[in-house]
Amino acid sequence: MARVGADMDLLRFATAGSVDDGKSTLIGRLLLDSKSIFEDQLASVEATSASKGYDYTDLALLTDGLRSEREQGITIDVAYRYFATPKRKFIIADTPGHVQYTRNMVTGASTADLGLVLVDARHGLTEQSRRHAVLLSLLRVPHLVLAVNKMDLVDYDQAVFERIVAEFTAFASKLNIPDLLVVPISALKGDNVVARSEAMGWYEGPSLMHHLEHVHIASDRELRDVRFPVQCVIRPKSDEHHDYRGYAGQVAGGVLKPGDEVMVLPSGMTSTVAGIDLFDEQLAEAYAPMSVVVRLTDDVDVSRGDMICRTKNMPTQTQDVDAMVCWMTTAPLRAGQKLAIKHTTRTARTIVKDVQYRLDVNTLHRDLGADQLGLNEIGRVQLRVTQPLLVDAYERNRTTGSFILIDEATGGTVGAGMINTGS
């Protein structure tokens, strides 16, 4: 076995689809074929399958972690799975597909580099698969794979596959999907999952695993606009580091170098980067998503919630936010409601000014008559914030363009927002 190294890169992907689409079977297959499943896990699943009287090992049992899920035979929460090949490490955010779990899908997609949508070859595109594609596009997941599963049940028929490809391509043209691959597979039999299928000689593209291993993600990083939200100030106050003062944070965009002229927002003070530290190393540059400490040449006032950027390239400073919001709790979102908002490292209070429309995630229809958002609904919302936020459009930066909404009474996370251009 090839040595799985420490220097490979990381691909985070979100899967969507229901139990019926064979999603858990596919994940089980990826884990099994990359030798990421251990004997004791497999033995436990085999025993459970046998006790339930199944003809074959139900790989779905590998991913259903909670007892209530096993009892009900459904997945109710986002589960994170890990596997590695000699080329890459993978983190799967495995999300359930039912309509009531839109919030889980949005959660899983928020950090994903790639989205994997499954459809059953016998049924073609369903309302659910369209919804999954819309959500992945809304969350700006840069790569999309549509896996047409259960090809074995349609005799590996190319015509069936081509029909689904044509239908999906027509639908996807209305969405923002920069990179799309459609692959015919059988998760159960293993066709085109790791190895190219012999039963589908007509398919000339890569296997799913080959694509996951090779899809180019380095260019997805935002390298133009320097964005450094300050998490905390590092002041050792020790004899050894008496005058040390650094600003700790995780780079959200751009490339920051010592000597760069920078501006601290919201104060607008300018200074120069004196050094970038990571523990005992001094770095020549820092880019997303590195966690570093930035030192400045001048003694300017910087605290948590501030943002360091370049003098000629700044985020928008605004108290009025226009965003697409996914609502995640049963009591609806309405105009006049007050909430807490967390955006980068800044937390403030906000009031909902207007619910402009509700988006039907199955048809993309905008319901302008809607004046509230219910659980798992998505819509365009105007917010007024108690203090200025330092924002970019979500389509430009997924970190400085996103926020969460918190119910101040319960403390729960009740909404997720993606900021529109022009906020």
Partner: protein
């Protein structure tokens, strides 16, 4: 840290950056954090990441250890070295003391592992801690795969898996009511192999029992337990000398070792890379009682 001309980060650097971000968020937003440290490899990696997050300042929180009374001396020694070097404050919550003070009840049937739960919850309450960092990883076990990085606990320390807060992007919600606390898992996205690669890369000092050594052991329930005052041979059992190492460290009465010749980090990494049994399945008696053993303990307030 190796920066690349194409602005790529290795997965280990990306994991490190994510963990450091988490440590800083908690220190900035939650009032009284504490780092739970068993002295095992995962909690020592946490100490290293916390050190990096705040360097050159000291850790802005103390280190908490639950002393089961059956901890491996090698593990306690490694913990002490780390705490001394970092100049951190160590808080020890002893199961024996908890029994003496009636915080938990030792009925002779309950394992030390279960008694740890009450001891830990008491220590968190007594210290007024609002956030406790734990070394749990999502790849360890099925119930853990669904746990958040910020895992909200009610005033009884319980975890409600069906009512978890959604966790999006890297925006963590640390809101708490009085009496509640947060368990925070900075290593959520690390795998066992990542931990070992990181220990090797950073040359991190870990307890010697992770490396192959000669030890007197007793074979019991398919596990090799270390023979000691706490683990004596029962009728029909033999004490044998074998070359072994530990893959996880916990309570001596429940943590088994595996036969291994891996006496260097490189050999351990090679061994893990081809291992066919999970670290918990191989060596943890506490996870074997039922398919949902971990889920049940987690709900009660286990790490």
């Amino acid at each position: 840290m190796q920066t690349h001309s194409d602005y790529r980060l290795s997965q280990l650097d990306e994991l490190e950056a994510e963990s450091i971000h988490i440590f800083r968020e908690v220190a900035a937003e939650l009032e009284r954090p504490v780092l739970m440290c068993s002295g095992g490899k995962d909690s020592i990696v946490m100490l290293r990441l916390a050190e990096k997050a705040f360097h050159p300042a000291k850790l802005p929180f103390p280190v908490l250890q639950v002393d089961t009374g059956f901890d491996f001396p090698e593990v306690l020694a490694a913990r002490d070295n780390w705490v001394d070097r970092l100049g951190a404050r160590l808080v020890v919550a002893s199961v024996d003391e908890a029994i003496r003070h009636g915080v938990v009840v030792d009925d002779g049937k309950t394992s030390r592992n279960r008694l740890q739960i009450g001891t830990l919850l008491h220590a968190i309450e007594e210290g007024g801690f609002t956030a406790a960092f734990g070394g749990g990883r999502r790849d360890e076990e099925k119930a853990r795969a669904k746990e958040r990085i910020y895992s909200h606990r009610d005033e009884f320390g319980q975890w409600d898996p069906k009512n978890q807060r959604p966790e999006l992007w890297s925006l963590y919600n640390g809101r708490l009511h009085a009496g509640e606390h947060m368990r925070v898992f900075p290593l959520s996205n690390w795998t066992e192999l990542d931990i070992w690669h990181y220990i090797a890369r950073e040359r991190i000092e870990i307890p010697s029992i992770y490396f192959a050594h000669e030890r007197k052991v007793i074979a019991r329930d398919g596990m090799l337990l270390s023979a000691s005052d706490a683990v004596q041979p029962r009728a029909g059992e033999m004490v044998e000398e074998r070359t072994v190492r530990f893959r996880t460290v916990g309570d001596m009465t429940l943590t088994g070792c595996v036969e291994s010749q891996a006496d260097t980090l490189e050999k351990i990494i090679d061994e893990i890379a081809v291992a066919r049994v999970t670290e918990r399945g191989a060596t943890r008696g506490d996870d074997r009682f039922s398919e949902a053993a971990m889920e049940d303990r987690k709900k009660e307030g286990y790490f």
